[in-house]
Each structure stands twice: as C-alpha cells, then as structure tokens.
Symmetry: C4
C-alpha cells in the first residue's frame, strides 16, 4: 500500500541520516578534517538533530492514536510512550546536543559518546539486532555456564603465570590483574605479543593455556552462532508466511 511504501521510504531516510551523522562523528575526530570541514560537520549535526527532534515530537503527538495506548487518555498515553525503551533511544539521539548547546557546554569528547548512542537508534531498523538479543536471551543459561568456565580459565592461567614469571617480569606479571591482561590476550587468540613469557616454564604454561583456551573459548562462539542462525531463520519464516 502507499502508506507502507512511505513508511519504508521514511525508515530509509532515517537510516541514511544516522549513517551520515555517525560518519561525521568519526571523521570529526581527525584534526585535519575537523579544521577543513568543521562547518560541514556542524551543519550535518544541526540538520540531524532538527530531524530527529521533529520525528520524536511527531511520534509523541500521535502517541494516543496508537493501538495499546488508545484507551488511557492523552497525557498518560504520552507519558507511557516516553518511557518505552525505543522512545528513550530516540530522545538520547538528539537531546544531548540541544542540552549542550543551551547550557553552552560544547565539549566534543563528551558529546561524541552521546552521539554514538545513535547506533542504538540505527539498530532499531535492523531486523538482525532483534534476533541477536533473542538469541542471547534464549541461551543465557549456556552463556552463563561458558562465562564461569572462561573466568575460571582466565584467573587460573593468570595466577599460574604470576607465580612463574611474577618476579622475572614484575611490570608484566607482577600481580594477577596484570597477568589477566596476558591471559585474555592469549585465550582469545589475539596475541598482541606485548606481554609474552620469557622463561622455559612460562612458555610451557603459555603453550598449554593456548591449547586449552582454544577449545574452551569455542563454547560461547558455538552457542551464539547456532542460536543466532536459528533466530534469523525463524524470523524469515514469519516474514514469509505470517
């Protein structure tokens, strides 16, 4: 129907605006671009904030026409609308900039963090994000179990390495929290190489940790991957047949 097509077009415009704006936030941190295109970035931000504020106010305006809120009176309907997670995300997408402008606090570093919250707004338009949340929720028991196993591995590996190389490399393995950085780097197979064992016993332990961790870290990966694929396909099924 024309209404559906217009809704789809409006959604695409919003997604486009968010992507453009997020790119501006990212590029604005490059000093060279900030100097050269500062006004452009400001214009992008102002247009974005204007559009998001308009969108929010329009949604708020029509909130009491919406299905579940129709029967509870115009004020309570709008309050209930404002407390929905999606409405809070929409509010956070423009309010900080306006607040910063009004209060004359224009610290780009603080604002950047708030402006990146627009990723949450973007995620509302991606069907996959819902599936991911669903997958994590339905597998929370298995993921908790994996987290306990992984935490145990990390702390055990860190403690043993602290015992072996704590005095050889005190700035790297001098405490268990320090050694945990090594343990996570190794168990996740990232392996920067900025913290490595130097003694024979340390290297032997590192080798065992690599082999052990490699297998244990497969647990959450397998669980999430399987659950996510299942959720995505269930949603496809609903979209096709619903």
């Amino acid at each position: 129907s024309p209404g559906d097509r217009m809704a789809t077009a409006a959604n695409r415009v919003i997604v486009l605006i968010i992507v453009v704006n997020l790119s501006a936030v990212v590029l604005e941190t490059v000093p060279h671009y900030a100097r050269a295109y500062g006004r452009l970035f400001l214009a992008v931000e102002l247009v974005t904030v204007l559009m998001f504020a308009t969108e929010y106010l329009l949604r708020l305006w029509v909130a009491d026409l919406h299905g579940p809120f129709r029967r509870i009176g115009p004020v309570r309907a709008r309050l209930r609308f404002m407390l929905q997670p999606s409405a809070i995300v929409d509010l956070l997408a423009f309010a900080p900039t306006i607040l910063g402008f009004v209060l004359d606090i224009w610290d780009l570093n603080v604002l950047a963090v708030f402006r990146l919250l627009r990723f949450l707004k973007l995620s509302r338009y991606s069907p996959g994000m819902g599936s991911l949340v669903q997958a994590v929720t339905s597998e929370r028991r298995a993921l908790t179990a994996s987290a306990v196993v992984m935490a145990g591995l990390i702390v055990s590996a860190a403690s043993l390495m602290h015992a072996i190389e704590g005095e050889v490399q005190p700035d790297r393995f001098g405490s268990i929290p320090l050694a945990m950085y090594w343990a996570v780097t190794t168990l996740s197979t990232v392996g920067y190489g900025d913290v490595v064992p130097v003694t024979g016993a340390g290297k032997a332990l590192a080798g065992v940790v690599m082999l052990f961790g490699f297998c244990m870290f497969a647990l959450p990966v397998g669980i999430i991957a399987t659950a996510f694929a299942r959720e995505i396909h269930q949603r496809d099924f609903v979209v096709t047949w619903g």
Copy 2:
C-alpha cells in the same frame, strides 16, 4: 560422450593456463626472477593472451547457435553474449594486455592488477564459487544484521579507546579512524601488536573488547560456514541424481 570428454579436457587446459599465468604474474614481481626469466614470463603472457583471445572469438562466433540466443538474429545475439558477466570476465582476461601493447603503455604494476582479474575467469571453472555466491545471497539478511553489529562494535570500541588513550598515544589513537585500525585488528583476533594499549584503563577495555568481539565475530562465520556447506551438498545431490 566424446563431446563431453573434449569439453572437460578443454576446461582443464584453460584452468592449467590460468594457473601457470597467475604464477608468472606473481613471480614476475620478484626482481631477481624478473631479470632472469623476463623472456619466459613474456612468452607465457603472449601465449595466454593469444589463447584467451582465440577462445573468446570462437565463443563469439558460435554465440547465435546457442540455446536462448538462437532466435534473435546474429548481431543482437552476439551483442547480448558480449554483455553477459562471464563474457566480460573472459574479455578482461586478455584485452588489457593487448590494449597496453597497442597503446605502448606497458606499466607492469597497473597491468598486474588487470592480469589478476584472471582469478575471476578461474573461478568460473570451480563449482564451489557458485555455491559460495549462492550461500552469501541466500543469507544476505543475516549477513547484513551481522555487519551492523560488527560495525557498531568496531566504532564503539574505537571511540572508547580514542577517549581513553587518545592523548597518551596520539599517533595511534588520536582519532577514531586511527583507533578503528586497532579495533579491527583486535576484534578479528589478528592482533599484530603494532598498536596496543599502554594504560591500565586501556588494557581493561582491550580485554573486554577481545571477549566481546570474539563472540560477536562468530556470527558471520557460523552463518557463512553453515550456508556454504548446505549449498555444496545440494549441488552434490543435483550432480548425482539430476
């Protein structure tokens, strides 16, 4: 039938030529080999171009005898043939060398990129490539969702690290795009180690990013692996029973 056997033999010859030629392109960039075997590489290139040009012209010649193009006249049939993706790949496999020779532009670096396009021609003879394209196409929705999650993770990790270590290591985390190189290196578990956090807060963030990213990056891997295995086996089924 003898025709089938000849077609299979012809395909094998073409695959062999492409492999020999690609090896020549790769080895030619080694200065030592370029000096020692320059003439051999030139000969390989000329023979290859000659054979690919012949193959292309022969295919073009018989284009109007081919099933779907039989009824639309000899000129339109050949034009339609030339616009097929596979015919364009075949043309790109020899035309640049001839053009470079005719126009006397013989810049090896530019030509090398075009000559590596022969990988596309090679992929036409691999049944797996079709399955891979099919797998990616059928899972495009899940892959888009994964891409959004991954982009969000990369930008968030980069922004936080930029906020924490931007002033400590300005040449490494001085802007979000710079920090994104670190984020991708870490989230993909490659972990070169050329860009690493040095502060306690930075290391703590890096550890969380490793654990988080490890799981999130499992999403596209699981989806592609599953879909590819499915497509490959469906094709096997068709080949066996079709």
Copy 3:
C-alpha cells in the same frame, strides 16, 4: 517450598562469598592494594574460612541423614561423605588457610594457589560445568583422535622449522622443544610474534603450517562446541519437563 527457597538463598550466599573472596585473592597480589586494604583482605579471608568451615561441619553432621548413607552407621557414613569429590573440594576451600595459620606458614604465593581452588567449589554451583564435563566425557574418543592429529602437527611443524632455521636462530629454533613453542603459538593462531621465521624457506613453511593448522585445529573446537550445546539443551529439557 520454603525449604527449596532457603536452599536457593543459601546457595546464592555461598556463590557471593566465593566471588568476593576470589576477587580479594586476585586484588591482594597488587602491591598497592595489599598495603592499602591488607586488613580488609584478611577479614574477608577469615570470614570466608569461618563460613566454609561451618558449612562443611554442618554437612558432615547431617551426613548420616542423607539418602544413600542412611543405613551404614554414623561413623562410616561420615567417612564415606568425606571421601566424596565434592566434600574434598569443600575441605580444600578452607583447610589450607587454617593449616597455614596453625603452622605459622603464611606464604601468600603458596596460599593463593590453594585459595584459587575455590573456583572448583564455585563450579559446583554452575549447572554448565556439569554439562561441560559430560560433553568432554561423551566425546573422549573424538577428542583423543584430535589430540593425536594435533600432537603430530605440532611435532612435525616444530621438527621441520628446527631443521630449516635451527642454525639461523639457535635461541629460538635450536631444539625441537624450543620450536614447539613457535608451533603451538602459530597453530593456535595466537601469533605473539616473539618467535618468527626469518628465512624465505622458514616463512614458506610458516605459511603452510598456518593454513594447515587452521583447519586441523577446527576439529576439537567443533566437537566440543557441538557436544556442549547438546548437553546444555538436554539438561534444559530435563529441568523443564522432569
């Protein structure tokens, strides 16, 4: 029932105590914290030991009321109870500290290892740990097979690299055990970068080992991930329908 609710609450308190205590063990190794909060850490330890000892003695007290041990007399029931793996884990959670206190041996490094054994006590309260043990047990044949393949890969890669670069980098590849550290680092894709080949032949071998090992190391990961997911879901099924 109220009894069940009390049991659940008691379990949660024990889990909380273990987590607090393990955090104290980890943080106590940081010299700064050890000086600043030494008394707090000691208090945490003493309270923990007191509670674990009380819990153990209470369990021991009621051991002869418990199902399977009811008929074998009070002394034998308590002895049998003490020899259960779970009771040994409970004993190890507090006995070393008391012994160290009584014998006036208060070496924190040795005690820390014993105190981390409380992770085993923690794992008793995680349903996932049982599933993991079950998964490893049921797939022991496949895992043994993977271990043989992996050991073969590690020793072969190490031997070849020792043959190629043993004389070029004697401190890194001078013996097969030394080269095995490189092999494990590479095959597990950790890749610290502290031990890398420098000759052309060594780099070529490293490339082949990476590609080969990447595939071979998928074996245990796939097996464990699948079996663990299966066990977790079977347990869910039992919890829901049992």
Copy 4:
C-alpha cells in the same frame, strides 16, 4: 576372547614404544639432554628398532595366512603385503636407522626426519585418523572450492598490498610472494606483527582483508569440523552395533 585381549595389549605396547621413542627424538635435539642422556636415547632407539623389525618380520612371515592373500602363493602374498601402505609405514619406522648404522651415516638431523615418520605408524593405532582421512576424502569437492577461494583471497590481498606499500617497505612488500607471507599471516588471524602496513591506505586495506578473510577462512573449518564429527559418530555407531 583371550586372542583379542592379547592383540589389544600388543597394540598398547607398540603405542607406548612409539610415544617413548618420539619423546626421545624430540628431547635428543636439546644439546643439554643429548650430552647427559645420549646413551639412554641410543638404547631407546636400538630397542625400538629391534622391536619394530621383529614385528615387521613376524607380520611378513604370516602374511600368506591372512584372508585376501591366502590363495596367491607364499612369495606373491609377501610381495603384495610389502607394497601395502601400512607395511611401508612399518618398514620406514625401523629401516632408516639400520641403513644409517650399516652405511655408517649417522647424521642425527637427517635421521630425525625419518624417525618422526613413526607418527604415521602411531596414527595407524588411532581410530580418529581414519575418520579424518575419510572426512577429507568425502568433502574433497567442498575443500577444493574453499582452496580456490582462499588462494584467490591470498593472491589478491598480497597484490593490492604490494601495489600500495611495495615501495614504502620494499623488504616486506617488494614482491607479491613476499606480500603473500603477510596475507597468509593476516587471513589466518595468526598476526605475528613482524610484517604490518604503515601507510593509511595499507592499514585500511589490512582492515578490509581481516574482515573479509575472517569470514572466508570459516569455510574449510566448518566443512572439516562437520564432516569429522559425522565420521567419528558413524564409526562409534558401527563399533557399538556392528
């Protein structure tokens, strides 16, 4: 039956001998151990060779009593036995040492490679190895397809990086084969960090290669893991019900 039990015991003895011997080969390359336990290593080697030679001659002796070889005469049966892959592996497990001793060529480095061939003999006693070979064989089409995709990715990534950084870091990206070492290190997510891009364009390419390669490299991993798990379980089924 007693015969079966004796066969199992004999197999275990052989596996034990191979493991002891392989450990000796590995440890003998450590100069310190070679000096201290040289005689022990020699004794282990001599006993092993004696036992393997005896085993081989016994098997050869009874070759014509064995099922398929019973009807073809004693000489032809023994020749056919000797040409079996498993018999060749058995011969290679002791012949090189005897040959080296007889010809007075006792170069440990050359011998070590032959002695490590005993891993092949070990693999004959691991049911998993057969499953792995079966898995690779049954999925050879999918694996070939993956190999083409991976080869294309490696060469493309290397060529592009050679074009971008070939002149900036000529000793690292000066030719495509050199750049291929970087490409394999990156695509396999090992990421040593000894060869990294330094320009902005190079880093951007590296980021794309990491993301792309991460997904593509999932293909063979998924295929092998799935097929291996299937073969292992089919074999379990046969062992249980056959």
